[in-house]
Amino acid sequence: MTKPLLEVEDLRVRFHLRTGIVEAVRGVSFQLGRERLGIVGESGSGKSQTGRAILGLTPPPGEVTAGKLTFDGIDLLTASKRTLRTLRGGRISMVMQDPKYSLNPVMTIGEQIIEAYQAHAKASRAEARDKALAMLEAVKMRDPGRVFALYPHEVSGGMGQRAMIAMMLVTDPDLLIADEPTSALDVTVQMEVLRILDELVAERGMSLIFVSHDLKLVSSFCDRVLVMYAGRVVEELEAKHLRQAKHAYTQGLMQCLPTLANDIRPLPVLNRDPSWAQ
């Protein structure tokens, strides 16, 4: 096997608060090749902080330590801010949860995509504009020219999220981190956005880290799944083998969802075992 694109070893994220130290991520290790990796967990499990730490986006007063954190041979922990800036948005990019909060409200969508492109590629404005329009078309906007000139508040949630994906993919990154990219969207729109994301990832041979709370969605979308609980990876498994999950937490998470297929009541509830957090 070729060298993995991203290597994470014993990643820890700590927050020094007035009330003491909170460890949000406690020793996460994984390797990522050209694949789709899902990270699943409930709120507070540290899944989003894992994604953010890779990009160096841990908010203060957070502190990141790791045995090893390398991207394509570059050590992300010791790299200069300048190197990090060229990586962020250039070779690694991130799609956030809610397009309402993560797009700039006072810039048109087209301008934002151009800005993202010109920050990483030497290109004339005309070139950048063509690239932005092509990207909007790639995310299946029906009228790219019109969407280009719109402000974020003028588009729907699904369109906003597609614009965000367009912006993140315009630089042809090697790794895309998607943090709950579809949680703010309606189910049917969700599928559409996922389908677009899936096509683009396959087409460009990107690696994808998909962070989500939705076990069912992740297992149907990704190749491999990490299940996190209280800042640790409790189980790692092939998405297609999710049904044979060993850990009680993974099993509990799957069973407590109501399904259309069978009618179980009362629903099994999750009995949290303190030993899971050890």
């Binding site: 409930e42 709120s43 949630g157 309606d186 189910v187 049917t188 729109v189 969700q190 599928m191 559409e192 996922l194 389908r195 899936d198 709370h213 076990l215 069912k216 969605l217 297992s219 149907s220 979308f221 509990g252 998470l253 407590c256 969802l257 109501p258 399904t259 259309l260 297929a261 009618d263 009541r265 009362p266 629903l267 099994p268 509830v269 999750l270």
Partner: protein, 259 residues
């Protein structure tokens, strides 16, 4: 118990006019549970808000126990109908203790014996008396939603309007709240109207449901039909398909959705 006839809700006039709900009709029998499903903007929450007086009834009739509701709603109405909101982080007063939150409806309706009723209401939703003097920030999401349910139930209403009661909660907490709602309905003989975007949640809690889209009722169906995958409307079918997870088997977005 509840009869909605040709309900219309219109916001704004002229160029700003929005028809949020157009001609929606349904009936709910006593002790039944009725679901409203749809995407955001389909008007499902507005129907609930119109029933309890938070949105105007522009046309049509809403009757509770055979009597048409008055605007503004009278006290007797709120003794019969209460509502639980989506986000327990936003629907509880952050600077009121649980005790104060629960005593307010009792004070408004001039109920006596508040203390005993509060302790009992807490017990009904599975919380101990130790929760009585806590503030919302000292509670988890699931506990907050239990408090919101206790507040709605403390006046012994007959109808509970549930607006996405579990969508802000984690999957494991959602299961607990759904079980609680199921249990309370059986014990107290409550009538529910549940609004949700999650077909599985609606099918779990309701017997009958209405699929809504763009402010109109698309199809009225039963949970049993939903479970067996029977749906006459293409939009309902696409919702069922979307709820079964992502599939790579190249089927394009169904034409019903490409609007």
């Amino acid at each position: 118990m509840l009869d909605i006839q040709n309900l219309q809700v219109v916001f704004g006039t002229g160029r700003l006019r929005v028809d949020a709900v157009k001609n929606v009709s349904f009936q709910v029998e006593r002790g039944a549970s009725y679901g409203l499903v749809g995407e955001s903007g389909s008007g499902k929450s507005t129907v609930l808000r119109a029933i309890c007086g938070l949105a105007p009834i522009s046309d049509g009739r809403v009757s509770v126990e055979g009597k048409e509701v008055t605007t503004p709603r009278d006290q007797a109405f709120y003794r019969t109908v209460q509502m639980v909101f989506q986000d327990p982080y936003a629907s509880l007063h952050p600077r009121h203790t649980v005790d104060r939150t629960l005593s307010e409806p009792l004070a408004i309706h001039g109920e006596k014996d508040a203390e005993a009723r509060i302790v009992q209401a807490l017990r009904e939703v599975g919380l101990g008396p130790s929760f009585r003097f806590r503030y919302p920030h000292q509670l988890s999401g699931g506990q907050r939603q239990r408090i919101a349910i206790a507040r709605a139930l403390i006046l012994r209403p007959k109808v509970l309007l549930l607006d996405e009661p579990t969508s802000a909660l984690d999957a494991s907490v959602q299961a607990e709240v759904l079980n609680l709602l199921d249990e309370l309905r059986q014990k107290m003989g409550l009538t529910y109207i549940l609004v949700s975007h999650d077909l599985a949640v609606v099918a779990h809690l309701c017997e009958r449901l209405l699929v809504m889209r763009h402010g109109e009722g698309v199809e009225e169906t039963t949970a049993a039909a939903l479970r067996s995958g029977k749906a006459s409307d293409s939009y309902t079918r696409s919702l069922i398909q979307a709820s079964s997870g992502f599939s790579r088997d190249g089927q394009k977005t169904s034409p019903a959705l490409a609007v």
